[in-house]
Symmetry: C2
Subunit: 249 residues, 2 copies
């Protein structure tokens, strides 16, 4: 099956402000760009057409030539082991930037696909790199983004090497919760964008374990789970399990 790619050119030249009116502009790249420079940024950003569930933003091995920002929906990044198994690297939610990992080798080391209908902005690296030399705060922001990703990955390494199944699930739920809250949405009642199996893959657990842990957390009145709908009943209990962290993030 062929996967639709993002449109590579915007339609004609009917240029309309995008970032300026985007509700995420205080989370995303524009936060590092003064208003008078925003036009420069707008000019290089491609809004693609929406992706459906399962559509790839890019695949492992594709040439690295852009980074991406989530406008709506959810994207997962994953790599494939030599044994052919998938390893999920991260989930990306609106306002977040992904695809930076491929920079150093010139090709994406992992693939990225939409978990649900999603809108993705494409930011060609050959455009933003020189721009970042003209706008120091933008350069700094790019450094920050990469540094932040390093930190997050290291948190996850810690989780994978030291935490129990319960602690892992608790951490993931709190991470999702805090990222929703940051966008002004409810952090206590939300819909999981990923399957149990994706949760497990990301956390280094098998599906059955994820399912059992969720049941257990439900029995202890920490959560209410109904399919993908989650309600966090006892955030403190969850935070205690996760060992703090994530709340702020």
């Amino acid at each position: 099956m062929e996967s639709p790619r993002l449109a590579t050119k915007d339609v004609g030249h009917s240029f309309q402000p995008q970032c300026e009116t985007c509700s995420l502009n205080n989370l995303c790249l524009p936060l590092a760009v003064a208003n008078e420079d925003l036009g420069l940024l707008e000019e290089i950003i491609d809004r693609g057409r929406p992706l459906h569930r399962g559509d790839h933003v890019f695949r492992a091995g594709d040439t690295f030539d852009a980074v991406y920002a989530v406008r709506s929906g959810t994207v997962k990044s994953y790599s494939v082991t030599s044994a052919g198994e998938e390893q999920i690297i991260g989930f990306h939610m609106p306002g977040e930037i992904f695809g930076l990992g491929g920079l150093s080798s010139g090709q994406h080391q992992s693939g990225a696909l939409a978990l649900e209908t999603s809108a993705i902005c494409r930011i060609p690296f050959d455009d933003i790199e020189p721009l970042s030399r003209r706008i120091p705060s933008l350069q700094r922001h790019l450094f920050n983004l990469m540094s932040r990703e390093i930190q997050d990955d290291q948190q996850l390494m810690l989780l994978l090497s030291k935490k129990s199944a319960e602690e892992r699930i608790a951490s993931l739920l709190l991470s999702l919760s805090s990222r929703l809250r940051r966008r002004g949405l409810s952090g206590s009642r939300f819909r999981l964008p990923m399957s149990r199996s994706d949760m497990g893959n990301y956390l280094g657990l098998v599906v059955e374990t994820v399912s059992r842990v969720l049941t257990r957390l439900q029995q202890s009145e920490t959560l209410r789970v109904q399919g993908r709908e989650v309600e966090i009943l006892a955030p403190d209990a969850l935070a205690a399990l996760a060992g703090t962290r994530w709340q702020d993030s």
Copy 2:
């Protein structure tokens, strides 16, 4: 106990070329800087005095104001969980840059200390950041370094969530081996710079497991281990275990 920090100023102004004559200059930052600009880089780099085993380069919570390059010796980065346990994030060998993770938050998220007597170059970030705007290849190199670290971390996540104890040890040994070879040293016979317990901590295993796996690999004639001295007898067997990767790196 107080930990010695790196000297913050070079002695007087007796400036002598450092990078230019450093045997690592084709691995380290200078590789991204043309000869005529090398002086600019030299000027901002502090060679500190040597650190002994256990001395900190920086501690978690210290203000981020520089990145570091290993000239000789070995450094480990580690963070401490809320429960007070240490999690080793990585080992840094000559020619490698570390300390980038603290950039985004302005303070180091992890500590870094010398595993053996080590010489470390300090590169103040406030100096290299503007310099990187004047030297595009340097900016690119910094991006590359961070991107590379993201990739490496993700490899490690994969290892932690999917691999068996044998596979983890094999991966670590091959990683060390290839990093030595890159510097022109023997990749088949070398001295481990870290304790069994550090190996285990890094790989998400307890000491006893590390010890047992090494014994097993020795029995299968894949390795010869004598304390910290290692000889790789069957690199292919090891690579098969690790599932390729690492060789090139």
